[in-house]
């Protein structure tokens, strides 16, 4: 019942426009269709699953010159005169993101009515419980140490 995560993947982004398009697709994740599955019907019963979806992504790029200039080696370039300096410009960029989806409830629709059955993420709860216990023991130990010092 843990969060479903797929492995890392890469998408070629050739420029800021591609990146902006990708960020624009975040609005798809804000739609109800991202949360609710298509209804599955079997006989008189219909089931729809509901998930919590979290998506985050970002990118950045930069470009700049070193401030100085590098002389053109042999001056074979078309637009450049032989030996004239050309500014050294370089740039780069990158980005990353993460998406998770966790089942929250199952909606049963049958002849007797509509029922929402919660889905309990036992793994997540177990991890949170042991983290809580560890935190309490850590605190208790620190307080005991401080009390002994006094």
């Amino acid at each position: 019942m843990a969060e479903q995560t797929s492995g890392p993947f890469s998408v070629p982004i050739r420029g800021p426009e591609d990146a902006a398009l990708l960020v624009g697709r975040l609005s798809d994740a804000a739609q109800p269709s991202a949360v609710f599955s298509e209804p599955v019907t079997s006989g008189e019963r219909t089931v729809i699953t509901a998930c919590e979806v979290t998506i985050g992504l970002g990118f950045g790029y930069g470009m700049g010159s070193a401030g100085g200039a590098e002389p053109v080696g042999e001056g074979e370039g078309e637009g450049e005169a032989k030996g004239q300096p050309v500014p050294a410009v370089s740039g780069g960029g990158g980005g990353g993101g993460n998406a998770t989806a966790r089942p929250v409830a199952v909606i049963h629709i049958g002849p007797e009515g509509v029922e929402v059955e919660p889905v309990v993420d036992v793994t997540k709860l177990g991890l949170a419980f042991f983290t809580m216990l560890g935190s309490i023991f850590l605190m208790a130990g620190k307080i005991r140490k401080a009390a002994k010092k006094l």
Binding site: E52, T54, F59, G60, R102, A105, V116, D121, K124, I136
Partner: protein
């Protein structure tokens, strides 16, 4: 304030109603979107199912039991930490006061 609204958006949306037998079910979700130049973050979660039958609409909330339980655990831990801290501070103060009297 207008700028904050451009960056952060909290919106409840409804999916197209589904007809199952005599019932019409409309599913609602709530999305929190944060946008900044060069990125964004979206948290979308189910909120409720609206069931319409014979002109009557019933709202069935979709409760995230896992999230509530985790929040309760975090709250209980924070409370215990605060209680333990305040108790140790009181004890420290009492001991200091006690030492002052004996001097």
């Amino acid at each position: 304030m207008a700028r904050l609204r451009d960056v952060v958006e909290v919106r409840t949306r409804a999916r197209d109603p589904i007809q199952v037998g005599e019932r019409t079910i409309t599913l609602q979700s709530k999305a929190v979107s944060v946008r900044w130049p060069g990125g964004g973050w979206v948290w979308n979660r189910p909120v409720a199912a609206l069931v319409e039958r014979d002109g009557e609409v019933e709202r069935i909330p979709i409760v995230d039991v896992t999230r509530i339980a985790i929040l309760a655990m975090v709250g209980a831990t924070a409370l215990l930490w605060l209680l333990a801290l305040s108790r140790s501070m009181v004890q420290r103060q009492e001991r200091k006061d006690g030492d002052g009297r004996t001097d």
